[in-house]
Amino acid sequence: MRIHIESNFHIPGIEKEESLDFDRERMSLRQFLEELSTMAPASIEYVRPGAILLDKDDWEVDINGIPYQDQEGALDHLLKDGDTVTVKIMTLCGG
C-alpha cells in the first residue's frame, strides 16, 4: 500500500519522500507513525507507547484532510492505499 505524506517540516529520515510504500494491505495510523519513528536517524517519538491519542502539544495529524481524532478509531484508524497523512509539527519557543 502507498501512503502519501504532507508536512510542515522535514520528517527525519524521509526528508525528500512524498509517499511511502509498505508491503502490507492494512495498517493503522499508529503503526504508520511508529514506522516513521523507526525511519528516523535519531530518536523521535510520534506516539507515546500505549497512548490513546497523540500528544496534542507536539503534533497535528490529519488523514485526507480530516483530523485523525475525528476518524473512526482515531489512532487505530485503518489507513488504506492512497490515503494522505498530514503531519504538522508544533513548536514551543519564541526568540
Binding site: A42, S43, I44, I89, C93, G94, G95
Partner: protein
C-alpha cells in the same frame, strides 16, 4: 485623529520607584518558612562519560537534607520542537560542556551546601571535545549529544524568487564571508528560583523567568505531571534578553529537592556560573553573495550560515530560520537562496540574545551592502534608500509589510548624524556608519500563541491589570496600564499591575520577538473596551442615554453630545457592586489569526504583523595608534508606529543598541582547547559601561500607524540591536578604511588590518584617502557582471 490623554505620554514607570530604591523583590530575595538552600555541582570538563556519581559522603554531612543527580528525573528529553528534543534536566550518561550541573544539594545553609558539593565524587572518562563549527562538521567528529548520531542536528534550505535570473540581471556581484563570536546574554540578575511543594504535592515555582509558559510546559512534560500540578508565579525579573525562556537545572533541581525534602528550596546562582555554563549567542560563520544594478538596487542574494550552538538544539532551529527569513527585509530583495546549518559543540548551550539571529544576518547583509555601495560609487544613504522596504510590500518569503517608515528613518538618521556635512570635512580618524533593520512585532509560530488580559475593576474605581506577558524590564506593565487608562478615561494612577500567576493568568506563549506591546497591548485595549461596555450599560440606564453615545474621560461618564449630562465613574462602579451585586471584570484576547503560519520546510510564510523599522547611524573615532574605537554619537530613526511611552521607547532603542555595542567591539566568551571557560567573571568578560557608549544619542520617532497595532503601535526594542553591529563596522571602515568582518572588532584586529593595508598611522599623512579603502580579508570577491571590469583588489 483622536486626542490621547495617557497614551503617547512619558508617564513614570509603574515599577520604577521600587526598582531604583532596591525594594523590588527578585527571586533571590524570596524566603519561605523552613527554606533550604540549594547548590549545584558542576562539571570541570567539557565532554566526558559519567562513570559514577557517589553522593554518600555528602548525604551524611550534618545539615544536608537531600542530594540529587540526573537519575532523579524521568529520562524524558525536552526541546523546542518534538523532533529536536535533546536535553535532560541534568545529565545521566555524559557531560556536554564545562560547568554543566551534574548533582545538586539542599542544606540548611549555603555554606553546608557548598561543603557538601566538595564531598560528591564524580568519576569521568574524558572524551575529545568539539569546539568549533568546523570541528563539528568533520566526518570523524565525536557525537556531542547522545540523542543524535552526528553533530548536525538541524539544517534548512530556502529558495525564494528566481535567484539565477537575479544574478544574471545584476550589474555587479560581490561575495564576502563574515563571522561572529560567542557572547553571553547579559542580563543583570543571575538565574534564581524558590520551589515549594504543598501538602497535596502541588508545586509552586517562583523564578526569574522570561517566558513562564515555556518553562511551565517543558517542566511538566519532563517531570511527567499535568500542567495543573505546577503553579508558576513570576517575581520581579532583572532582565532576560532571551536568556531565560527555558527551564534550567536550577529550576528542575529546586523542584526535585523540594519534593524530596518536603521543604522550600531556593537556588541562586553566582554570576560566574551564568557566564560559564548558561545561554549564549551562537557563534556564526556566514557567506553572502549579493547582486545589484548600477543604481544599487539589489537583484539577488545567495547566503549560507552555520551556527555553532553548543550541545543542545534549543531555539537553534528558529535561529536558523530567522537568519534566512530576515535577510528578506528591511531591503527589497526579489530573490534569495539560503542554506542554514546548526551544529553541536562542547561549548556552553546557546539560546539567543536580543534581536535573535536577525542581529547576525543584518551585520553581514548591511556590511556587504556598504561595501558594494563603495565599489559602484553609490552613497551609503542612497544605497539604503534605493532598497528600503516601503508600505504594502510582500517579501520574497511571504512576510507582509503593511506600513514602513524606513525611508523616513534613513533620512532622519542621516540628517541627525550630519552625514552630508561630514562628507565635506571631518577630523582624521572619524567616520560614520549606517545600518537598517526590521523586526516583527511578535511571531506566530504555531501552538498556543494568543495574548489575554483580564481587568478587575475594584469597588473603589481602581483597576487591576493581569496579563499573560512578563515584565522583564521592558516596561510592558506600564504601557498596558497606559492603554487601559486611555480607553477608560482614567488617570494612570488609577490602574495597578497585578501578579503574573499561572493559577489566574493565561500566560502568553512567551515573552519574545517584540510581541508584548503589540499582542498584549491589543488584548489590553479589548479588555478595557469590554469593561467600558459594561459600565456604559449601567450608566446609560441612569442617564437615559444610548450606551454607544457615552464618553469616558477624567473619571466621568457622560453623553458625548451633552457633556453636562453624566455621572461619576466611581458611581457607575458602585451601582454594579452595590445595586446589582455584579463584579466588574474586563476580558480581552488577541491573536494574529489571519497570517499564514511559516512552513518550516520551505521557510515560506508570514510570521507577524507590525514590522518595526530602524535606521541607525553611528559616528565614531578610531585611534590609529592603538586601534581603540570611541563611539561618539548614535542617531536612530525608529518606526515603532505610535509611541505609547516615548521615554521608555527611547530606552528600548538605546538599550538594544548599547547591548550590541559590546558585541561589536569587546565581548567574547572564550574557551581553552579543552572547552573550559576562560573569562567567566565580570572582571574578564567585558561589557560596555556608560564610559563606552556614545555621549550623544538621538532617537527620532517616525510616527506611523500600524493598522493592527494598539493605537497604531508596533513592537520595539530589538530592531536597534539588529542595526548596530553593521553601523559600527561600516563606521570603522569610513574612519580608517579597514573592513573587519570577524566580530568582535578589537583594537588588535584594527591595528593588524591597518598594518596589512599599509595604512598604519606612521605612513599616513593628511586626510583619509578614500581611494585606498578596501577589505583586509582574502576571501573577498567582487566582480562586475558582463562588460564591467573587476573592481576588487584595489
Amino acid at each position: 485623529m483622536e486626542e490621547l490623554s495617557v497614551v503617547g505620554k512619558s508617564v513614570e514607570r509603574k515599577d520604577g520607584r521600587v526598582k531604583v530604591t532596591g525594594s523590588a523583590r527578585y527571586a533571590g530575595d524570596l524566603v519561605a518558612p523552613g527554606m533550604l538552600h540549594g547548590k549545584i555541582l558542576r562539571s570541570p570538563v567539557a565532554h566526558a562519560k559519567i562513570l559514577s556519581i557517589d553522593t554518600r559522603k555528602a548525604e551524611a554531612l550534618p545539615g544536608v537534607m537531600a542530594v540529587i543527580t540526573g537519575k532523579d528525573f524521568p529520562l524524558k528529553p525536552f526541546g523546542t520542537r518534538p523532533d529536536t528534543r535533546d536535553q535532560l534536566p541534568m545529565p545521566v550518561t555524559k557531560v556536554h560542556h564545562f560547568g554543566e550541573g551534574v548533582a545538586a544539594v539542599a542544606a540548611t545553609d549555603e555554606d553546608t551546601a557548598e561543603e557538601a558539593l566538595d564531598l560528591i565524587k564524580v568519576e569521568y572518562e574524558e572524551l575529545p571535545v568539539v569546539l568549533t563549527a568546523e570541528d563539528a562538521l568533520k566526518p570523524d567528529s565525536p557525537p556531542v549529544n547522545e540523542f543524535k548520531s552526528n553533530n548536525l542536528p538541524y539544517a534548512s534550505n530556502f529558495n525564494f524568487g528566481d535567484v539565477e535570473k537575479g544574478f544574471k540581471d545584476a550589474d555587479y556581484i560581490r561575495e564576502e564571508t563574515f563571522s561572529s563570536q560567542r557572547v553571553t546574554v547579559g542580563f543583570i540578575e543571575p538565574h534564581a528560583c524558590l520551589a515549594e511543594v504543598d501538602a497535596t504535592g502541588r508545586i509552586l515555582l517562583q523564578g526569574s523567568k522570561q517566558s513562564p509558559y515555556i518553562t511551565w510546559r517543558h517542566m511538566c512534560r519532563t517531570l511527567d505531571i499535568p500542567l495543573t500540578k505546577l503553579r508558576i508565579v513570576n517575581p520581579y525579573v532583572g532582565g532576560a534578553f532571551s536568556g531565560k525562556h527555558d527551564p534550567f537545572d536550577v529550576d528542575f533541581a529546586a523542584v526535585r529537592l523540594a519534593q524530596k525534602t518536603r521543604r522550600p528550596v531556593r537556588i541562586v546562582l553566582n554570576y560566574d556560573e551564568v557566564l560559564a555554563a548558561y545561554r549564549q549567542r551562537n557563534a556564526m560563520n556566514a557567506r553572502l553573495r549579493l547582486g545589484v544594478k548600477k543604481t544599487g538596487a539589489i537583484t539577488a542574494l545567495d547566503a549560507e550560515c552555520v551556527l555553532e550552538g553548543g550541545p543542545i538544539c534549543g531555539i537553534g532551529p528558529f535561529n536558523i530560520y530567522y537568519f534566512g527569513a530576515f535577510l528578506n527585509i528591511p531591503y527589497k530583495i526579489p530573490a534569495i537562496q539560503y542554506s542554514g546549518k546548526l551544529v553541536y559543540s562542547n561549548r556552553s548551550p546557546c539560546g539567543t540574545v536580543r534581536g535573535q539571529e536577525i542581529v547576525l544576518a543584518q551585520f553581514a547583509l548591511d556590511s556587504l551592502l556598504h561595501m558594494i555601495g563603495g565599489d559602484i560609487g553609490v552613497d551609503p544613504v542612497q544605497m539604503r534608500l534605493i532598497n528600503a522596504v516601503t508600505d504594502h510590500w510582500t517579501t520574497a518569503n511571504g512576510i507582509v509589510v503593511d506600513v514602513s517608515g524606513l525611508p523616513r528613518c534613513i533620512e532622519k538618521s542621516a540628517e541627525e548624524i550630519k552625514w552630508k556635512e561630514s562628507r565635506k570635512s571631518r577630523p582624521r580618524g572619524r567616520g560614520i556608519g549606517f545600518s537598517c533593520a526590521s523586526h516583527p512585532s511578535g511571531p506566530r509560530l504555531g501552538g498556543h500563541f494568543g495574548s489575554s488580559v483580564i481587568l478587575k475593576l475594584v469597588e473603589d474605581g481602581k483597576v487591576i491589570v493581569t496579563h499573560g506577558g512578563t515584565e522583564i524590564g521592558q516596561g510592558c506593565n506600564t504601557v498596558f496600564c497606559q492603554m487601559v487608562a486611555e480607553v477608560l478615561g482614567l488617570p494612570i494612577e488609577d490602574i495597578e499591575q497585578g501578579v503574573s500567576d499561572s493559577d489566574t493568568t493565561v500566560f502568553d506563549s512567551g515573552m519574545f520577538g517584540d510581541r508584548c506591546t503589540f499582542w498584549d497591548g491589543n488584548a489590553a485595549v479589548l479588555a478595557a473596551k469590554d469593561l467600558k461596555k459594561q459600565l456604559a450599560s449601567i450608566a446609560a440606564k441612569d442617564l437615559g442615554a444610548d450606551p454607544d453615545a457615552l464618553e469616558f474621560k477624567n473619571r466621568r461618564i457622560y453623553v458625548k453630545e451633552n457633556p453636562v449630562k453624566g455621572m461619576d465613574f466611581l458611581l457607575a462602579v458602585r451601582k454594579a457592586y452595590y445595586e446589582d451585586g455584579a463584579p466588574l471584570y474586563g476580558r480581552g484576547y488577541w491573536a494574529a489569526t489571519d497570517i499564514d503560519l511559516v512552513d518550516w520546510k520551505t521557510g515560506k510564510g508570514n510570521l507577524a504583523h507590525g514590522l518595526d523599522f530602524i535606521a541607525t547611524a553611528i559616528e565614531l573615532e578610531v585611534d590609529e595608534e592603538t586601534g581603540q574605537v570611541r563611539l561618539l554619537k548614535s542617531a536612530h530613526g525608529d518606526d515603532a508606529g505610535q509611541p505609547i511611552n516615548p521615554l521608555m521607547l527611547d530606552g528600548q532603542v538605546l538599550g538594544g543598541s548599547t547591548h550590541m555595542m559590546g558585541h561589536a567591539l569587546m565581548e567574547e566568551s572564550l574557551y581553552d582547547e579543552k572547552g573550559r571557560a576562560l573569562n567567566d567573571t565580570w572582571r574578564d568578560y567585558k561589557q560596555p559601561t556608560s564610559m563606552d557608549v556614545p555621549f550623544e544619542t538621538v532617537v527620532e520617532h517616525i510616527h506611523t500607524h500600524d493598522p493592527y497595532g494598539p493605537f497604531g503601535a508596533k513592537g520595539a526594542g530589538e530592531a536597534s540591536s539588529c542595526s548596530t553591529l553593521a553601523a559600527i563596522a561600516n563606521g570603522i571602515y569610513d574612519a580608517v578604511g579597514v573592513r573587519i568582518k570577524d566580530l568582535p572588532i578589537t583594537p588588535e584586529k584594527i591595528l593588524q588590518a591597518l598594518k596589512l593595508k599599509g595604512t598604519a598611522k606612521s605612513s599616513l599623512k593628511g586626510t583619509v584617502n578614500s581611494s585606498s579603502k578596501g577589505t583586509a580579508n582574502s576571501s573577498s570577491k567582487g566582480t562586475a557582471n558582463s562588460s564591467s571590469k573587476q573592481k576588487e583588489g584595489k
